[in-house]
Symmetry: C2
Subunit: 195 residues, 2 copies
Amino acid sequence: MIQYPNGVKKPSQTKQKQNLKKLSINSYKNRGMDFEKEINLTNQFYLETKRAVITKRPTPINVVKVDYQRGAKITHAYFEKQSTTDYNGIYRGKYLDFEAKSTQSTTSLAIANITIHQRLHLQRIIDQGGIAFLLISFGKKDEVYALKGIDFLQFLEKETRQSLPYSWIKSKGKKIQIAFQPRIDYLTAIDDWFF
Amino acid sequence: MIQYPNGVKKPSQTKQKQNLKKLSINSYKNRGMDFEKEINLTNQFYLETKRAVITKRPTPINVVKVDYQRGAKITHAYFEKQSTTDYNGIYRGKYLDFEAKSTQSTTSLAIANITIHQRLHLQRIIDQGGIAFLLISFGKKDEVYALKGIDFLQFLEKETRQSLPYSWIKSKGKKIQIAFQPRIDYLTAIDDWFF
């Protein structure tokens, strides 16, 4: 599967529309904004208020061909899947690591959204004593939940279903307030859980 | 300035030579291996032995044009500078963050190698109670040093020179043993300093 990155610069209006159409797969309903962008804004706010330093790992890109005659212009490349999670950083002295997923479903989040590599990565972070979690957006409901990595991994062990039910996420996770600043104040959940 | 990534896949021998020539700017002498690759191998070893989870942030790439008719082939893009450091992760429960730099000079490391953004990032990590450092390779000497982020930042405050002298790095930093496995056992310096 292919990941479409945020912040794709578009050379023309036509291309822009074309790309936005592709990007809207993960778009954040009722907000006209991508879930990822909301998180990035939140992290920017955390950074500026010195609350935490949490950054998004750039989308890995497999570069096939570079034209050095034209200022190292990449002329052939492909998006790759992140083998770890998308976000990590430091909060209150602790290592923090999470994956963000949005869904247009109102009833569940397909587990296939989180790759085997990412599950393994979450497990490793937990084993090292870090804070690992998922941030899940139900776009149509305009709701965001934080879910402990350990709860997610235990669900995978116990259950055979292919998706995390909304009701289960709602009961196990923590609902995150959506506001102006910070947009998605997910560190409140971390405060409650880990401090 | 432009960053050339590791792991660039080359479509032909000619291109390969062309790219290798570019990549060799940072190549790791007497070893035929890139410093970055050595670190990645070290991190892989740390991961497999469950000692730490430390990953390299992918090289950020500014994607200008994507051809969706051809399986989301990127046809126009540019390498970007990392605004943070290249590596971060968790070790003994602590957040760890570092930038790796290699030089072919035998007398100093040009400070311009570490961008303003990266210096600010190191400072922020220190402020949050994380472990921040530099890993510096003197290729021609076959020597690698770890240098505390705080020592580096204090040098910048006190000194007006444009480079870190080798002798200063040698006295302030910790020499890292280069071996087969792990290649560059930099966590030993972290053990001595922070635990």
